[in-house]
């Protein structure tokens, strides 16, 4: 029997397998080089970059919660110029797909960063983090309103030299209209979900655990929320979905694909087990082989109703 095919295609880009790393949990790739063979990954999504360097929020920036963690890193990053100068060279020729996550606090910032990235052929795709507060608008996240999401994706798509994948926030009443708005604006794929709003307080000293008060919840605790978001989104869009949220191993990968995801990203799991992605690739291969499934794409959206 031949080995099952793990290839998936997203926005016209072929990935050797559906397993990527999530933005903000894998640095700029360099830090994991000594722990895993990066060339085996389907892709690497790098830390959100913005126009200027950002120092991030004051510590403590994280707190562990039941089967999850809160983070308020504050989009700390080196800024797009240093990213292009110091980080991109390492990512060239790694033998894996490079997805660059871009964040911004107004439309101009997104456009500025994309413009600086255009032409760098080591980049395969842009993931647009539209979960940031829109400082020029009403301070709401770009991805919290279909019209705002449409406008930003449309404008970015107009100048972006790469396939574009907006990353959606789960902090909305209904993710479907947002997803549809992004598709209509020309998005090539959708990534979901980003972190959920959360907060934690120490019951003994009464202190709020994060200096920033609230943070983003990630890890296994959010997986059911993410699965539902993928399922609902898959029912309204035709473009591929990359599922994110609480993925720890190959079983979670399968669950996301059955819900409708074409690929997935591992986030918090990288902190727990630096080689979690590599193990999942091997285990997924074994799973498909043991069930005589020749093509991983045959899992997508196949969840059965009970």
């Amino acid at each position: 029997m031949t080995a099952p095919s793990l290839n998936v295609t997203i926005g016209g880009v072929e990935f050797k397998n559906p397993i990527l790393t999530a933005s903000g949990t894998f640095g700029y790739g360099e830090e994991f080089d000594e722990y895993i063979d990066l060339s085996r990954l389907g892709g690497i999504v790098t830390k959100s970059i913005t126009r200027h360097e950002r120092k991030g929020h004051p510590p403590p920036r994280t707190a562990e919660t039941a089967s999850g963690m809160l983070n308020a890193i504050g989009l700390a990053n080196v800024g797009v110029d240093a990213y292009v100068r110091d980080k991109l060279p390492f990512l060239r020729n790694l033998g894996t797909r490079i997805v660059v996550n871009v964040a911004g606090f107004d439309t101009d910032e997104y456009l500025y960063v994309i413009d600086k990235l255009n032409g760098h052929d080591e980049i395969d795709m842009i993931e647009l983090n539209i979960s940031c507060p829109n400082v020029k608008g009403d301070g709401m996240e770009f991805s919290s309103n279909p019209q705002i999401a449409y406008d930003i994706v449309k404008k970015v798509k107009g100048i972006c030299g790469f396939p574009l994948m907006p990353k959606l926030s789960p902090n909305v009443a209904d993710i479907k209209p947002i997803a549809k708005a992004c598709e209509e604006a020309g998005a090539d794929a959708l990534a979901l979900i980003n972190t959920l709003y959360g907060m934690a307080i120490d019951p003994f000293n009464w202190r709020i655990k994060l200096t920033n008060i609230t943070g983003g919840l990630s890890g296994p605790a959010i997986k059911p929320v993410a699965i539902a978001a993928v399922w609902k989104t898959a029912s309204v869009v035709k473009i591929p979905i990359v599922g994110i949220g609480g993925i720890m191993d190959y079983r979670d990968v399968i669950e996301f694909m059955l819900a409708g995801a074409t690929a997935v990203q591992f986030g918090t799991a990288n902190f727990v087990q630096p080689d979690c992605t590599i193990r999942a690739i091997d285990d997924l291969t074994d799973y498909l082989g043991s069930r005589n499934i020749q093509d991983v794409n045959d899992l997508i959206g196949k969840a059965k109703k009970t």
Partner: protein, 238 residues
């Protein structure tokens, strides 16, 4: 472990072998190393859920350990006098530093170790330190053993009476309050000083940017897990 570890480096240990609560690894300084067997020891205090789960691990069980990680102490043998300060469970990195220097032929008479404890009942923690051929002095908050008061005050007294040589180097590990006091004293006396810091460390390898501490005098943060946990006292703002 195959080689004598660099003092001040740490291990990132998963307290539970299965399950997701606790989810993340916990950081522990390397306490001791046995060259004959290659066995590494840690010394820890139960602080919350992770260390509580860890304390229930039985001999013979296998733990998932990542490391050694971080940047430890880098002190030449040519220094005049090594002054080690440990508060509570801050013992491990400075104990290993003393052991490492002694092993390389550094004269124990040129090592002073000030061990701060809350009370005499905590003294068994320092059993191994007591076996080292160095100048060891205790300080307890309640005066039940040794010097009465903070270990930083003991340091100040010894700097004042000149018993620490002409050009000492201070290395300290312990609670934030103690480190702050040591930092202030080192600054006032113009003494070179290194601090081994703690922070909440989700990844331990430099990717999450969760563990940062503020750089002194700059609007910048540095990662405790990568650039630290050992910093020169003048580098960081506590």
């Amino acid at each position: 472990m195959e080689r004598f570890p660099i003092p001040g480096t740490f291990l990132h240990i998963k307290p539970n072998t299965t399950g997701t609560d606790p989810l993340l690894r916990r950081a522990f300084s390397i306490f001791d190393y046995d060259e004959a067997t290659g066995v590494v020891d840690i010394l820890y205090k139960v602080a919350g859920r992770g260390t509580e789960v860890l304390s229930r691990v039985r001999p013979g069980e296998t733990l998932d350990v990542l490391g050694p990680l971080g940047t430890g102490f880098d002190l030449p043998l040519t220094i005049d006098h090594l002054v080690l300060i440990a508060g509570g469970v801050g013992i491990p990195p400075v104990y290993l530093l003393a052991k490492s220097h002694l092993r390389q032929g550094f004269d124990g008479k040129r090592i002073s170790y000030f061990c701060g404890l809350t009370m005499a009942a905590e003294k068994p923690m320092a059993d191994r330190v007591e076996k080292l051929p160095i100048n060891l002095q205790f300080a307890t908050d309640d005066g039940s053993f040794g010097f009465k008061g903070f270990v930083s005050e003991l340091l100040r007294a010894r700097l004042d009476d000149g018993s620490l040589g002409t050009n000492p180097v201070i290395c300290a590990c312990g609670p934030d309050g103690m480190l702050k006091a040591v930092q202030t004293i080192a600054r006032a006396y113009g003494t070179k000083c290194y601090l081994s810091l703690e922070s909440i460390m989700p990844c331990g390898v430099g990717t999450c940017l969760g563990c940062v501490v503020k750089k002194d005098g700059e609007e910048k943060y540095v990662r405790v897990c990568r650039e630290g946990p050992v910093f020169e006292a003048t580098e960081v703002e506590l």
